[in-house]
C-alpha cells in the first residue's frame, strides 16, 4: 500500500526536474499556438536562436534586458526573504530613475562625481519610495502588498508629469521625455554598460553576505516565523523595515542604471514592467540569491523572443501570456514536487 505525503523541505533535485518539465510544457503550448497561427516552427525557432544568440545586437539586447531584471528581481527576492511581498519595485525603479535624472540634468559636474551621486540618489529615492509601506508594515501591520502596489501608480504619474511638464525636452522635441542626460554609465562593448556587471556583483555579494551574516539569519527567521523570531529575541519590526528599505533601494538603483545606461532620458515608458517581472525573477530564483542570475537570464530570453515574435506579426502581449504561463506552470510543478509516494508495509 502507498500514500502520498507533502515534504516540508523539498530537495533541489526534485524542484529542478519539476521545473524542466514545466518549461517543456510551456514550450509545447507555445509551439501549438504558433503552429495554429500558421507559422513554421522551425523557422521561428531558428530566427529566435540566431537573432538572440547569433548576432551582436541580440546578445547586447539580452544583457540590457538582464540588467534591470537582476535589480528588480533582487529587490523582490530580498523582500521575500523577510516574508514580504514588495509589489512596488516598479515604482521604486521609477523613483530611482527620477532622482538619477535630476542629477544628470541639473548637476554640472564631471561623470566621476555625478555618476556615484546619481547611484546614491537612485538608492535613496528607491528606499524613500518604499519607506512608508515599510514603516506601515513593520509597526502598524498594514499590508505591504497593497501600499507598495498603489505607490507604483503615483510614481508613474509623477514621471509623466515631469516629462510632459517641467522636465519636458525642449531641445529636440522628443515626446513624453526629458532632455537627453549629460552623463551616462560607461560602456563595456557596443551598447552594453557597466550597470549589468554592477548588478551581478550586487547579487553575488547579497547572496554571500545574507547567507553568512547574523542579519541575514535574523531576516530569514523573521520572515519564516515572526512569532518564533520574537521569542528568540529578534526584534522583528526593525528587520522588516530595513528589509523593505533595502529592497526599494535595489530597485531604485536599477532605475538609475536603466536611465543612465540604456534609455538616457527619463520617459513615460521607462519602467517597462520590470518591477512586475522582477516578481517572476524572484519566484524563479526561490531561496537562492545566486539563482537570480539564471532567472533573470531566462526572463531576458523570453522578452527577446517577444521582440522576434513581433516581427512575425505575433502580438506583443504574447510575451505576457508566455510569462504568465511559465509562472503558472512553475507554481504547479513546485507544489507537485513536494509530494512523494510513501510505501508502507502492510
Amino acid at each position: 500500500m502507498s500514500r502520498r505525503i507533502r515534504l516540508a523541505v523539498v530537495p533541489a533535485r526534485r524542484i529542478f526536474i519539476g521545473r524542466l518539465l514545466a518549461l517543456g510544457f510551456v514550450f509545447v503550448v507555445l509551439a501549438v499556438v504558433l503552429a495554429m497561427l500558421g507559422l513554421k516552427l522551425g523557422m521561428v525557432a531558428r530566427l529566435v536562436v540566431t537573432s538572440t544568440f547569433g548576432t551582436k545586437f541580440g546578445l547586447e539586447d539580452l544583457a540590457l534586458y538582464m540588467t534591470p531584471l537582476l535589480m528588480t528581481g533582487a529587490a523582490v527576492w530580498l523582500g521575500l526573504r523577510a516574508g514580504l511581498w514588495n509589489i512596488g519595485a516598479e515604482g521604486q525603479f521609477l523613483a530611482g530613475a527620477t532622482a538619477a535624472t535630476a542629477i544628470g540634468l541639473f548637476l554640472p559636474a564631471s561623470a566621476l562625481v555625478s555618476l556615484p551621486l546619481a547611484a546614491l540618489a537612485g538608492l535613496l529615492a528607491g528606499a524613500l519610495w518604499s519607506a512608508v509601506p515599510a514603516a506601515g508594515r513593520a509597526w502598524l501591520g498594514v499590508s505591504e502588498i497593497i501600499t507598495t502596489l498603489l505607490l507604483n501608480f503615483i510614481a508613474s504619474f509623477m514621471v509623466y508629469y515631469l516629462v510632459t511638464g517641467p522636465w519636458a525636452d525642449r531641445v529636440t522635441g522628443a515626446q513624453v521625455s526629458s532632455e537627453r542626460l549629460h552623463v551616462a554609465l560607461p560602456v563595456i562593448h557596443g551598447v552594453v554598460h557597466w550597470g549589468g556587471v554592477l548588478g551581478l556583483v550586487i547579487v553575488v555579494a547579497m547572496g554571500l553576505s545574507l547567507g553568512r551574516s547574523r542579519f541575514g539569519y535574523e531576516l530569514a527567521l523573521s520572515g519564516s516565523n515572526p512569532t518564533a523570531a520574537h521569542y528568540a529575541g529578534v526584534s522583528v519590526a526593525p528587520r522588516i523595515f530595513v528589509a523593505l528599505l533595502f529592497s526599494g533601494a535595489l530597485a531604485g538603483l536599477g532605475g538609475m542604471m536603466e536611465v543612465l545606461g540604456t534609455v538616457h532620458r527619463l520617459q513615460g515608458g521607462l519602467a517597462h514592467g520590470y518591477g512586475y517581472l522582477g516578481i517572476v525573477v524572484a519566484l524563479l530564483a526561490r531561496k537562492s540569491a545566486f539563482a537570480l542570475i539564471p532567472a533573470a537570464f531566462l526572463m531576458a530570453v523570453i522578452l527577446n523572443t517577444g521582440i522576434v515574435l513581433q516581427t512575425l506579426q505575433v502580438s506583443a502581449s504574447s510575451v505576457l501570456a508566455i510569462t504568465g504561463l511559465l509562472v503558472f506552470a512553475i507554481a504547479v510543478s513546485d507544489e507537485l514536487a513536494a509530494y512523494v509516494k510513501l510505501e508502507t508495509q502492510k
Binding site: F57, V171, A174, R180, Q267, G269, H272, I307, Q310, T311
Partner: protein
C-alpha cells in the same frame, strides 16, 4: 520639396550631448547605399498603432500594400503598436539583425531610432514626423497645415457662431500646427472665430474623443475638428447636429450629415519613389515634406456642405497650389504678442516646429 541642410545643421549644434558625427562625403554614402536587386531587398516598417486602426497607420499600411504591386519580389516586414520606449530601440535593432536594408518608422521615435541608425551605418533609416538627418537617417512628413487651413475656411462659413472645438492628442508641434492652421483659415473669413481645444492624451481613444466632443459642443462649439485616428467625436457631431472635420481618411460613412471633410493622407508615391531610389542605389538620407496635392489634401467635401462654400475654400486651395502661403504675418500668439511680423512668412520648417498657439486658440499649450 526637400529641405536644405543648413537649417538642420543649426539644429544639430543644439544637440549638445548627441555625438556630432561629421557628415559623410557623398562618395561614402554612394558606396554605402549601392544598387540592390529587388529580390534581395528587405524593407522593415515600424508602426505606432495597429495596421487596422482606421486612421494614421492604416493609411501607411495601405501605401505599403500598394508597394507590393510595384515591387513584387521585394520582401517586407512590419511590427505594429511599437511603444515609445526603449523597446522601440530593440525592435529597430531586430530589423537590422534580420537583414533589413531599409528601416522605415511611420511615426516619430526620436533617439530610439537614431541610436540604432548610428550603430548600423550601412542600413538606411527613415522616420516619419522625425527631424534628425545623419549619414543614414532621414525623415519625411506631410505639410498637412495647408489642408487644415482650407478646411478652416469652410469651418468659419459653416459655423453659426464662429466657435470651433478641437479634439487634440498631445500638445506636440504637429497638433499645434494643425489647430493653428485651421483657426487661421477660419479667421481669414471670420476674424471673430475662436477655437477651444481639449487634449485627451491619446491618438486613438473613441470614448475619450466622444466625451471631449460632447464637452466642446456643451461649451457652445458648433464645429468640431481634431486629430484622431477614430471617428469618436464625428458620431457625437452627427447626433448633436453640428459639423465635424476629420483626419487621415474619408470617414463620411460614420456621419453622413455632419461630415465636412478630412485631412487625407496618401504615402503611396513617396514610398514607391523611396524604394525605387534605394534599389537603384540613388537613395540619400534627407528631410522630405510631402506637399499639398502630393501626399496630403482635403477630402472630397461632405454631402451637406453648400457648393458656394466648397468653391470658396477650394479657391484658397488653388492659390496655395500656385505657391501662395497663408502663414504670413502679422500672426499673434494667444497672449496677443506678435510672433510673426508683417511681411514675414513662416516656412514649412518653422510650421513643423510650431510650439505656440495663435490668437483665438485656447487650451492647447
Amino acid at each position: 520639396m526637400s529641405l536644405k541642410s543648413p537649417a538642420i545643421l543649426t539644429r544639430r549644434t543644439l544637440l549638445r550631448s548627441a555625438p556630432l558625427a561629421a557628415l559623410p562625403s557623398v562618395a561614402r554614402a554612394a558606396s554605402r547605399f549601392a544598387p540592390i536587386a529587388e529580390q534581395d531587398l528587405l524593407v522593415a516598417f515600424g508602426h505606432t498603432s495597429p495596421v487596422n486602426d482606421g486612421g494614421w497607420t492604416q493609411m501607411h499600411d495601405k501605401a505599403i500594400r500598394a508597394l507590393k504591386q510595384h515591387f513584387p519580389k521585394m520582401r517586407s516586414l512590419y511590427v505594429e503598436s511599437i511603444p515609445y520606449s526603449a523597446d522601440a530601440t530593440r525592435l529597430f535593432r531586430q530589423f537590422v539583425a534580420e537583414g533589413a536594408q531599409m528601416v522605415i518608422s511611420t511615426s516619430t521615435y526620436g533617439d530610439f531610432i537614431k541610436d540604432v541608425a548610428d550603430q548600423a551605418p550601412e542600413v538606411g533609416f527613415l522616420e516619419c514626423d522625425g527631424t534628425n538627418v545623419s549619414g543614414n537617417l532621414g525623415w519625411y512628413y506631410i505639410t498637412h497645415w495647408y489642408a487644415s487651413y482650407v478646411i478652416g475656411v469652410a469651418a468659419a462659413r459653416l459655423s453659426r457662431n464662429g466657435r470651433l472645438g478641437y479634439v487634440a492628442s498631445f500638445p506636440t508641434p504637429s497638433v499645434i500646427a494643425s489647430a493653428n492652421a485651421t483657426l487661421l483659415g477660419a479667421r481669414s473669413v471670420n476674424p471673430q472665430a475662436t477655437m477651444r481645444v481639449i487634449s485627451i492624451n491619446s491618438w486613438f481613444d473613441p470614448q475619450a474623443a466622444a466625451s471631449a466632443g460632447a464637452a466642446l459642443i456643451d461649451s457652445g462649439c458648433d464645429f468640431l475638428c481634431g486629430i484622431m485616428d477614430d471617428p469618436g467625436y464625428l458620431r457625437v457631431a452627427q447626433e448633436r447636429g453640428v459639423w465635424a472635420a476629420m483626419w487621415n481618411t474619408d470617414m463620411r460613412q460614420f456621419a453622413p450629415d455632419a461630415y465636412v471633410s478630412s485631412v487625407v493622407l496618401d504615402f503611396e508615391n513617396y514610398y514607391r519613389e523611396t524604394i525605387a531610389a534605394r534599389l537603384a542605389g540613388q537613395w540619400r538620407p534627407k528631410g522630405t515634406f510631402l506637399t499639398l496635392g502630393n501626399g496630403v489634401d482635403r477630402d472630397r467635401w461632405g454631402a451637406r456642405v453648400p457648393v458656394a462654400i466648397q468653391r470658396e475654400a477650394d479657391a484658397v486651395r488653388d492659390k496655395m497650389l500656385a505657391g501662395w502661403s497663408p502663414f504670413t504675418g502679422p500672426i499673434k500668439d494667444s497672449n496677443g504678442t506678435i510672433r510673426v511680423p508683417a511681411g514675414q512668412t513662416m516656412n514649412d520648417w518653422d510650421i513643423y516646429h510650431w510650439n505656440w498657439q495663435v490668437e483665438g486658440v485656447s487650451g492647447l499649450v
